[in-house]
């Protein structure tokens, strides 16, 4: 391959993309700082909610806490301190678990990544095959069946889907574990035993999540496929006598995937939303379960920390999708010679 020349247009596009994402990250950080301070109750009364078990009656201790958290400083100083702390990875300490928020996130994030990435991979694989098949043979019975069930899947609350699956395969048939990310207090004899235990716990939550994402992905691929089939180049390829299967996979699907990649980032947000419900339902030890537990005990630093990290991940996924899209979309790419 020829070494690619620097394309000034693309450099400026990438730079403006980066700038807009930096702006988004700054807004995320600022929102996270402002929401507790603008909404009723200052962060201290939130930390020391009179309804929570941590409520402190002694005004002197409350005063000391206020100084400790820097709430007696002017807002702008607090903001500067907050930004510095956040950049250093200091997200405060959890009230409930009594340990740094960032450490809690470090131990929960891998589970969520495992769950969401597995689910997204499975959903995408299904959508690519079923979506191109349905779009190719549009308005047939298979297409109608797949399309209607995808619309239903995409609009069914993910916890309902999960409930049905866990009742059938977990409680009734007893094939798969009801909850958790691994067997509690298990000592594994081998690495394989650990993997198979984690895998067994992963099947139901990951399948639920992928089913709910697959509905939307399928509809997207199918509609893209229908659009591509109508393009002139398809007619040309067909008239050249290219066999049906090659026409479908090499010519149509390749082009139908392009707009799909931009949507992959949106899927990251959707997968996170689904993961929060699924992890809550299945008691899966990821970020969703963490935020659910934090909500239950009004552990505000954890809620804020999880929001911040999840927002950063979703924003980065969006940036990545935009960059990939700019790279592979022939309308942006320079002609290859």
């Amino acid at each position: 391959m020829r070494p690619s020349k620097i394309n000034p247009k693309r450099v400026s596009y990438t730079l403006s993309l980066l700038a807009s994402y930096l702006l988004t990250i700054w807004i995320v950080l600022t929102l996270n700082f402002l929401i507790p301070r603008l909404l009723p109750g200052d962060p201290l009364s939130a930390l020391l909610d009179s309804e929570s078990s941590n409520y402190v009656f002694d005004p002197q201790i409350r005063q000391a806490l206020e100084t400790y958290y820097g709430l007696d400083q002017p807002l702008i100083t607090q903001y500067g301190q907050y930004l510095l702390d956040a950049l250093r990875g200091d997200l405060g300490a959890s009230i409930q678990f009594n340990q740094p928020v960032i450490r809690l996130i470090q131990s929960h994030l891998p589970w969520t990544l495992l769950l969401t990435l597995t689910a997204m991979f499975a959903a995408t694989l299904f959508a690519l095959i079923a979506g191109s098949e349905a779009g190719w043979k549009r308005a047939t019975r298979t297409d109608r069946l797949l399309t209607t069930s995808s619309i239903i899947l995409a609009n069914t609350p993910v916890y309902f889907l999960g409930m049905i699956l866990v009742i059938i395969f977990g409680a009734k048939l007893d094939w798969l574990p009801l909850a958790g990310g691994r067997t509690a207090f298990a000592h594994y004899d081998s690495f394989i035993a650990m993997i198979s235990d984690i895998g067994k716990h992963l099947i139901l939550p990951a399948f639920t999540l992928s089913a709910s994402i697959a509905g939307v992905s399928f509809l997207l691929i199918r509609n893209n496929m229908i659009m591509v089939i109508k393009e002139d180049f398809m007619l040309v390829a067909r008239s050249k006598g290219i066999p049906e299967q090659r026409l479908k996979w090499n010519h149509a699907l390749r082009n139908a995937i392009l707009p799909f990649i931009a949507h992959m980032a949106a899927h990251a947000g959707m997968a996170i939303t689904g993961a929060v419900f699924i992890e809550t339902l299945f008691n899966y030890p990821g970020m969703g379960r963490l935020i659910f537990d934090a909500v239950g005990s009004r552990d505000y630093p954890v809620i804020q920390g999880v929001f911040l990290i999840v927002a950063l991940i979703v924003v980065s996924a969006n940036l990545l999708a935009d960059l990939i899209n700019a790279r592979i979309d022939p309308r942006i790419r320079e002609p290859l010679t």
Partner: protein, 299 residues
């Protein structure tokens, strides 16, 4: 198709009405028919809840965790309240949030999309940049953050859902308004000195009415999902009788899935949320097919 049918009987008004009626019945949309029936059914339950509900859902009328009986068709919950009554009153919360949040969402997207599309320029750039940022943010975590700091009741839930779901709809409205603004008759109206507000009400609003209706339906569906979802996560008014909270309390019972209790305690509210969401979705799909026949080609 409608046009060709009515043009074959151009002179007789009665025939015209009949052919229209025929075309209407012929095109009768099962999506719309079924989903409207379900929605009317749920709405009547919500309106007449005090009449049809066997008990007050807040009353402690029996022993906790009773199985279904003739007195309590769906048994009682962990506090000894009648589950069927809770389910009936739950329609009120889901529908109020659906309607309230849909109206709020569309008002916001109409204001932001309308201003952005109509005036363009720097206002458009600022508003759309803001919209893009809001589109990128993960909604549910932000919703959880807001709800947990607001200690959300019904109104707060409606407000925060409206605040987080306008972005995509605002973009659609902006695009439509932007293209309408370039049309000759609107340019002409402007050159005659018509005020922006007048043009918006007289010429633009009727044109984007279908968009607004689709948006309302879509937003109502999202609002139902989000309200139930927040309550499912334990956010919101803990004394309210909503479907999401019923599921939360049921799931809080250890070993719920190992007994038969899920059948009358967990399943009915979960099924209700799902049926309501699907009815709203298919209503939206049906309406879109009627008002936007171009879409059907891709469908």
């Amino acid at each position: 198709m409608k046009a060709s049918l009515s043009s074959s009987y151009p002179s007789a008004p009665v025939m015209q009405i009949l052919t229209r009626l025929y075309a209407w019945i012929n095109n009768l949309d099962w999506d719309i028919l079924l989903s409207s029936l379900i929605l009317i059914f749920i709405t009547s339950i919500a309106i007449f809840a005090p009449l049809i509900s066997p008990n007050d859902p807040h009353d402690f009328i029996g022993k906790p965790l009773e199985p279904p009986s003739s007195a309590h068709l769906l048994g009682t919950n962990d506090a000894g309240q009648d589950i069927l009554s809770e389910l009936i009153y739950g329609t009120r919360i889901s529908l109020s949030v659906a309607i309230g949040a849909a109206l709020g969402t569309m008002l916001l997207s109409l204001i932001i999309g309308g201003l952005s599309g109509y005036f363009g320029g720097w206002l458009d750039r600022i508003l759309m940049r803001f919209t893009d940022v809001m589109l990128t943010l993960p909604r549910l975590p932000l919703l959880i953050l807001l709800a947990s700091f607001l200690d959300a009741g019904l109104w707060q839930t409606i407000l925060i859902i409206a605040l987080l779901f306008w972005q995509g709809k605002a973009r659609l409205i902006r695009a439509q308004v932007q293209s309408l603004r370039q049309r000759g008759y609107i340019k002409m109206a402007r050159s005659y000195g018509a005020s922006s507000l007048y043009i918006f009400q007289r010429h633009i609003l009727p044109q984007i009415a279908p968009l607004i209706v689709f948006g309302l339906v879509a937003a109502a569906g999202q609002a139902v999902a989000m309200e139930a979802g927040l309550a499912f996560l334990g956010l919101g008014d803990a004394t309210a009788k909503s479907w999401g909270l019923m599921m939360r309390f049921a799931l809080n019972l250890p070993g719920l899935l190992l007994t038969e209790r899920w059948l009358w305690w967990l399943l009915p509210p979960a099924l209700s949320v799902t049926v309501l969401m699907l009815a709203i979705t298919f209503l939206g799909i049906g309406l879109e097919r009627i008002w936007n026949p171009r879409l059907e080609q891709h469908d």
